[in-house]
Subunit: 496 residues, 2 copies
């Protein structure tokens, strides 16, 4: 009969003999003794413990001989408690699983007071879980989301590594405010109560840590270009920042970007690289995260059921991912897109909030969604935007027959997400680049190092930025960007 | 006879047919036409162009028929210029290479004025190259260093991915000043000229972007622990920051850290994981970066020759790396280390700047170097440091027979580098953790989420931090940490 004893010296050398739930769920070797550790998900009838150790989404069933178990111990087997179990691998008595562990001894490693533990075995809203982001990884949904996030990150590294790209860590703290984005976070060690002042009463940044005004980067691109002009092909994968006061389901103040930059590449090469990469990583996730994607697929189907019929998605998550792999992204110019939008029903019927009136208008989310979700029903690459709504470093196209100026930009728009990728061929011609910087009052002195790439051995080159959280959103089907990053940063929130 | 003509429409669709230098240097297919693009390294006798495109360290030789080439074009083939060459793959006429390209046409993509281009085909000092960090990737040394950095980063991801760890992106901006490090960068959007004030005249951070005072993270560990308590095994790999005013060859204000955290693991598991990881990635580099490591090995041998005999290293770089793989790291306690240091010659002869007098002293770089480089001559893992010189979250050991308090910490010391890894088993016992926090005046309210892991399902767990740049230094043999990160950040410097 089973005896329940504390392990001796369990707190030393414990991992060495621990077996993971994932491997036990797949084992074919029965009637052997194993040690397993994890957290209690449920404990039914004083008899069946479902234990999870994070190694997979599935739980392992521990069968307890409750007649021969100390009652005080049984009471401590509560949802969330950490336990160590020694037991025998047996064929499962229940349905839906192959393996049970018949416990021979159990130790409570850490209790979890059921009166206080916020995660009980019931459905919690995503909003509630956001408040306890430090615990939400312990739910199936977030287990799946963050496993998927891991897999996508790894797939990105693998994709670029296989292609011979060099991974660059571009600086997080930068002194240049070059893109003129304006919405940057300042980084400082000055005493804000009493900052040093210059003679004319301004804050004296020459006394700051970097002896100048410094910010958090909004993009690694400019530095990435420097490296591409030596290695030929590089990518960055790091955090970027926007101090924008936007409280939406699509924006974060701190997010991760992937920014490849390729020498001797034009806009078409750039589009191909982006499409190849997206398909590679989506396929990687489908192959390597089957359990997680199945779960998220079902989660989304359940969520869809709560919506009115006409708002439901035509495709399930898995269908959407496979559809992406099977079809070429639709490529068209901004000018062609404007024609489609102008003639579209929501524009004609004035259902758009921002009506498309004339060439030159910046596209809003509603327009992008119309093109992707209604008109083409697949990912769309829009190219050759008006120069006036794009950045100074983008390559200037020849003006069209009507004299309109465009740049060799490309944005990739995804259903449900909007802009997933933004990129361009870069302006490699010094004279044109400098002329544009002058037009926009961008100081050349500050960017002397950037201009040096055009001064010495300039070459055509292209690159793009991928918003990593938006990719995770697309592949996981999560509607709110705050649910795909561990500890989201947004206005008035930097908890945890 | 060769004619030199500009390509038609070269600036469109150029990458598609471009062949890389790396593949051409290895090709066996002769007498075919190829297009190659890259930067001129040297141009000898108006006849031999050495071209490099970053795909490997080696250059490809282009043979120019200078009798039939426009002189104006020849003049523009200068060091650093970007060129596109069409030509025939032929067996090389020279020694040391297999393949030449017999040029049929050449186009200058971007000039490089030899009067102004700072990188000429001669040896430049590392100090000089640091001033032009935007161009130094174009040298062989930095090509090798950053290819190696890439390979080491990829190897780290691969190591953890294979072991089933989940890659977490812990937040860069944090509101907690929990470690009491003090030396943090503030992140703010307040107007420093005119910050909002509270009634008692202090800066009112409730009006700042995050509605509270916020900083750049010094470590992802505390958040990593939250995730480890759900996934079992996680790691971070991201930038961390120290606003320390240290101008050394070993410190940066912005650097990258790898921080694994493992549930159900003790200090011994932790040491084993760190040693396994270091050996895995060093081995990966030796196998995958042979060309780069050979180059750096020779570079170091040359550098050593300039030193007096008695200061030269006994082992070459490659020997040092292989030695690391072949030997177990030496494990000993702090207490044992103190005994060795106390009895050591430099301590007896008062050659140490900080003499080792009694138990409890913090080890200085000179002591670590003595242990690693003189006494054991291999990597050393020091464990069980005095509690007073380590962080609050480290697991408290039982006091020793003399009543001295230690914690289950471990530091891995490497020859020439010093501390490469710092880690510990974490204090999982709520009462002991809280008592220590009270002793050190660490506010518990701020860390409510961290304490929750001990409140709900606490379990033994361990983790460490690896300074990524120090790893790159060790494997590349570069003496200055500023030479292994693209754009180093240190006091008074945030250029590029």
């Amino acid at each position: 009969m089973a005896k329940f004893l504390n392990f001796d010296a369990l707190h030393n050398k414990i991992m060495i003999h621990r077996e993971k739930v994932k491997s036990l769920l797949e084992t074919e070797e029965f009637n052997r003794e194993v040690t397993v550790m994890g957290w209690v998900r449920t404990f039914r009838n004083n008899q069946f413990i479902a234990i999870n150790d994070g190694s997979c989404m599935g739980n392992l069933q521990i069968v307890v001989d409750f007649n021969n178990t100390d009652e005080a111990l049984l009471k401590r087997i509560t949802t969330g408690a950490a336990i160590a179990v020694k037991g025998i691998v047996v064929e499962s008595v229940g349905k839906g699983q192959k393996v049970d562990i018949k416990a021979t001894s159990i130790e409570i490693l850490g209790d979890s007071d059921p009166e206080k533990y916020p995660l009980q075995p019931k459905k919690h809203s995503l909003e509630f879980l956001r408040e306890i982001a430090h615990l939400r990884f312990r739910t199936n949904t977030f287990n799946a989301v963050f496993k998927l996030r891991h897999a996508l990150a790894f797939a990105i590294h693998q994709f670029y590594n296989e292609k011979g790209f060099v991974y660059m860590h571009t600086p997080i703290i930068t002194a240049s405010d070059a893109e003129g984005a304006g919405e940057m976070f300042r980084v400082t060690t000055l005493d804000l109560e009493n900052p040093p002042l210059t003679e004319d009463g301004k804050v004296d940044y020459s006394e700051d840590f970097f002896a100048r005004s410094a910010n958090l980067t909004v993009s690694g691109q400019l530095e990435g270009e420097l490296a591409a002009m030596a290695f030929g092909q590089i990518y960055t994968f790091g955090p970027t920042f926007r101090a924008e006061n936007s409280n939406t389901t699509r924006h974060l103040a701190e997010f991760w970007m992937v920014e490849p930059e390729v020498a001797f590449a034009d806009l078409e090469d750039n589009m191909q690289l982006a499409e190849d990469m997206l398909k590679y990583v989506i396929n990687y996730a489908l192959v390597n995260c089957k359990e997680e994607i199945d779960f998220l697929n079902n989660r989304l189907l359940e969520e869809e059921k709560t919506k009115p019929q006409n708002e439901r998605s035509e495709l399930s998550l898995i269908e959407k991912l496979n559809f992406c792999l099977a079809n070429d992204f639709e490529r068209l110019t901004y000018t062609e897109a404007i024609k489609i939008l102008k003639a579209s029903k929501p524009n004609q019927k004035k259902q758009f909030k921002y009506l498309i009136d004339e060439w030159g208008a910046d596209l809003q989310s509603e327009h992008e969604r119309y093109l992707v979700e209604k008109h083409f029903k697949k990912p769309v690459i829009l190219t050759d935007y008006p120069a006036d709504i794009k950045s100074f470093y983008m390559r200037q196209n020849e003006p069209d027959e009507q004299g309109r100026k465009t740049v060799a930009a490309m944005d990739i728009l995804f259903p449900g997400i909007g802009e997933m990728v933004g990129g361009s061929q870069r302006e490699e011609r010094m004279d044109k680049l400098v002329a544009r910087m002058e037009e926009l009052n961008i100081p050349q002195e500050e960017l002397w190092w950037f201009l040096d790439t055009r001064r010495f051995g300039s070459a055509p080159h292209s690159g793009f930025g991928l918003g990593f959280e938006r990719l995770v959103q697309f592949v996981s089907g999560m509607g709110n960007i705050r649910d795909v990053i561990a500890f989201p940063r947004f206005p008035k929130n930097a908890e945890f």
